[in-house]
Symmetry: none
Subunit: 199 residues, 4 copies
DNA sequence: AATGAATGAGCATTCATTCAT
DNA sequence: TATGAATGAATGCTCATTCAT
């Protein structure tokens, strides 16, 4: 049922985005030339502009596409889980598994997308708020079910949860050593759920 | 009794750094022109180069000077506190109080310094590791005193603590609303110490 | 029957070199702006960099291309002449005819290429030594044939020959009056062959 | 009888000129910074401008002072010699002895002073014409005394004489090997007087 | 006279974007 | 669609010169 594409153009848009992630990760957004991306994607410089309005839009699109997948997959999976604690567990693993699977993409997300307040604001506006909202909902759920303490606002708890995971990713990227990222999900969960203080 | 400085040029180096923070915060490092900084500092473009080797070095210096203050003040204060929990409390408040006091500086730290892997690596190498190390030490102390649980590695706990605070700052910066940042220290502490799960 | 070239851009590289000679001759290498050259060539500034790596390389190329022609034509013609004296005659005329035909090029060669030891050394290394060598060979030939005196080393004689011609060119360039250069070839030859002293 | 100078200021003007020759010779006029010269002369940058109006004028002064010495010494010596041939001999030796004694000065004269048509013209105007005129006079003298052939104009012969010597200097400067320059005076004379052709 | 901090005009080069083919 | 040659605006940095001290 799929529209038969013209051949020879398996998916240039996709190729450009993939190339862009690789190049942005290696050199940083501002130091990446459009010609680097085009060259990496195996096309002519001008062709980039048939698919994207500007270099700016390429980065934006990397973000949009990834975030979209991220959130929709997240929402779809979460409904299958009933326990709020299990939901948080799934989210933490999901977050670190996804970014841990594509170092270049992780770099672009952790580093490049934060390199300008402009992007940050947009980043925040579009995907990040939604993502934080997903976490917040889970926490509210836990509070309603009397499983989570209520003396912390859900949104603050969500930020803390996100911030902790985010820091795991940042450290993983900057580390000279190569190690699996996902296991840290359990560490974060342990602390987020129970706190550091001995009972 | 201090020697009265000449005229309106009490400290140009300082003026440049201050101007740079303001400009970098407003426009981002890559979009800031050296002439913007010079103009903001009330000096000629070329004068910037009498104090700094390059635009690059200006940003680096903003970071160095701030981080130095930050860490030395942190270390000096911490030795006055004996309880590990109190130390964490002081650190969280200190972190948010400092950055909450200078929005532009906070923006440069949260956004600009992370805008390139190059800076990130240096940032990480120089100040960040040390800061994380300070936190780690406190946690080890708490574990030794049997106050903190021992099933979490101190460095991971430190990262989570830092990540949570960092996220507070980032959200504060990006927020369109203006609100005091420091109070969030207690929220982070509450959760970090006791966890989200009801006992 | 040659394929009619597109539009007004028959050969941009050539146009740039031509423009550069004109501009360098008028203002000197260091006082010539790349934009002057581009403008003279009827192209955009950036286009210069599609054909040359730097302003430096433009000057180098002017030299290379000219010297190459010069030497290859010289060698090709000389083999057709058997008498060493006739060879010198042809060389002297050739030298002055060539440079006398393009005042701007002559200026670049006489003045600009000598404006820095760096260029001088390269100039010397590449083309000049070869040119001097061609003259030297002719003199050796004459000495072997017992036509030229042997109490002067061929290389020194060659330098004198070259130096005399070179001075004719320099004076011609600097002169406010316009006069034909080539006739001076015979004057140089007269003196070089027979000396100033009366027999 | 000399006016007692203030001490500490043996002769700054002289020191600057000396420093300039050294620096210009090493880096070329355009690549030499005024601060390089000042530093080499052991004075502050601004002090250069107490003695010279501009960097330009420093080079000009190097030339003026040297040329003045050159020509006045030349004229003074020549009147002591009666034979035109001996006069040429003295001139050739003088030329190569003087420049051969100060490589840096020679470089400035051979290379830097020719690096721009502007300087060339001035160079030509001021000292060079006079120098050439001195040679020309000697040749006219020789012709009048029936010692030199008359089928060559004196000025052309003078240029050839000068050009030959000049080339000796240029080659000496560019040579990687170090050798005495003055002996080439005799070679030039031999050829200039008798020609290359066997009698 | 001497200093050297400050000035600011000047310029080579880069690179995102366009557009004729 | 695709190309890639051409564009030209944009900017970090240098350095001759000035001038308050």
């Amino acid at each position: 049922m799929s529209r038969p594409s013209r051949v020879a153009v398996p998916d240039k848009r996709e190729a450009i985005l993939k190339a862009a992630v690789k190049i942005f990760a290696k050199k940083g957004y501002f130091n990446s030339k459009v010609s680097d991306i085009a060259s990496e994607a195996g096309i002519a410089d001008g062709t980039v502009y048939l698919y994207f309005k500007s270099k700016d839009e390429v980065l934006r699109s990397v973000f949009d596409r990834t975030m979209e997948d991220f959130i929709s997959e997240g929402r779809a999976e979460l409904v299958k889980i009933s326990s709020p604690a299990e939901k948080l567990k799934w989210l933490a693993h999901f977050h670190l598994r996804k970014l841990g699977a594509d170092r270049d993409l992780a770099i672009v997300f952790q580093v490049e997308l934060r390199g300008s307040t402009k992007f940050m604001e947009e980043f925040s506006e579009k995907g990040f708020r939604q993502y934080l909202d997903v976490i917040k909902k889970v926490i509210e759920e836990g509070q309603k079910a009397n499983l989570f303490r209520k003396d912390i606002t859900p949104i603050t708890a969500a930020k803390i949860f996100y911030g902790a995971l985010d820091e795991m990713v940042t450290n993983w990227i900057l580390s000279k050593k190569s190690y699996p990222l996902e296991p840290f999900a359990d560490e974060v969960l342990k602390l987020f759920m129970g706190g550091i203080a001995r009972k």
